[in-house]
Symmetry: C2
Subunit: 215 residues, 2 copies
DNA sequence: CGCAATTTGTCAATCGTTTCACAGCTGCAT
DNA sequence: ATGCAGCTGTGAAACGATTGACAAATTGCG
């Protein structure tokens, strides 16, 4: 059981999905030297409504001050705390070190706070031993031994569709709690006990195609 | 000529986003040799409700037969038509041939129907001339000349945040109608006239972090 | 000091999506 | 041939999210 539970308001999934966007725009504001911002100003920048901005922030507690607006630094700090917790980075492993896995791992290491890449695995022998975003690629057969020692919490899954199911069940057995899933396989269906973020690039591209062709 | 008129029902964005998922599961069903499927069976596989499946399909016209179910082949054909049109592949260019761009382009070429990669561009001279998913990388300064000749319809944007805005405005000027956007920049805000599918990997990863830490 | 302008927090109304319920159709077993 | 079990299509209800509206708070300025 977790102690860190903001019971002030229950954040619905749509709200959670918007948090990173707030984070991005607030970071930009901070860089530009702004010290405060109003909900209407932020809404205009982000292409949403002032009402939604206020409603969203209010899920987590009153960060703003009536008559004034929101203090950029305070707001950014609060949202960072929500997204990245107390600063403890989640130990993370990468499964599948192909092109996509490589690209995504450098992304995780360079561009996003909150995670620490501790290991990478692949089936191909020729990948083993190679350096990748600060870790050495190991063979997938060493997954169990490695995880029992390092206790990773999150896994990035960049394996072909056929392997996804088997790898996922091993990860669940090893106590992995979250998966960032790039395989063409809906992990959320068979494994409701872990938190899954599916990134289905194929789906994304196809739905864009639909919109392009039908309007 | 289209059998299914788009104005039969107006498909809302949530429905459109589910189409590729139907496509995936129906393809799997077809491979497994099934010739028909009921809404409840499909729903169970996909982790949704039978009601939603029927409602979704009904947006586009009655593909099913009362008392029987849906013919897998017919359904797959109809959904393919919606997603990929008459088979004409959309000419597409890639901007930014870094690791992510490379991974994504091989994806577009290999794994998804409906697109044809016709060109790739980068700012770095050392990228120019290299082969990538069947095309030769050109310098970004040749973008205008190339597009005027080849008239691409879609662009994949894999450039750093700082360049996104400038490149996007050039693409819009060149008549690009859709952008698959991987840059950390919300293209939909400044350019409402084009169809944009934002893939914000950072946002995706951050929201996963929130869910992992707060439950 | 008091008023006008601005802005948040929040409750209520609206809007859109999902789920429910059921009529009508089909194939099958008896 | 008839009843039964299972299915779709669809209008209506329920639900959830977004938007609107307004009271309370704050500042600046005359």
């Amino acid at each position: 059981m977790q102690l860190t539970k903001p019971q002030h308001g229950k954040a619905s999934l749509p709200v959670i999905k918007r948090l990173p966007k707030y984070y991005r725009y607030l970071t930009a504001l901070q860089h530009s030297g702004a010290s405060k911002v109003s909900s209407s100003e932020l809404a205009r920048m982000m292409g949403t409504t002032a009402s939604q901005v206020r409603q969203d922030f209010n899920c987590f507690g009153g960060f703003g001050q009536q008559g004034i607006g929101y203090n950029v630094e305070v707001l950014l700090h609060e949202i960072s705390a929500l997204l990245f917790g107390d600063g403890e980075k989640l130990p993370t492993i990468l499964i599948g070190t192909g092109r996509l896995g490589t690209a995504v791992s450098s992304f995780l290491v360079r561009d996003v706070n909150g995670y620490r890449l501790v290991g990478a695995f692949d089936v191909k022998d020729e990948e083993v031993g190679r350096q990748l975003s600060g870790v050495t690629v190991r063979h997938i057969r060493d997954l169990e031994a490695f995880c029992q020692e390092h206790k990773p919490v999150m896994a990035v899954l960049c394996v072909p569709r056929e392997s996804a199911r088997e790898v996922a069940s091993r990860l669940v057995a090893l106590g992995i709690r979250g998966v960032w899933n790039f395989s063409h396989y809906d992990l959320s269906v068979p494994y409701p006990q872990i938190t899954v973020e599916n990134v289905h690039l194929g789906d994304s591209l196809m739905s864009l195609g639909y919109r392009l062709r039908n309007e």
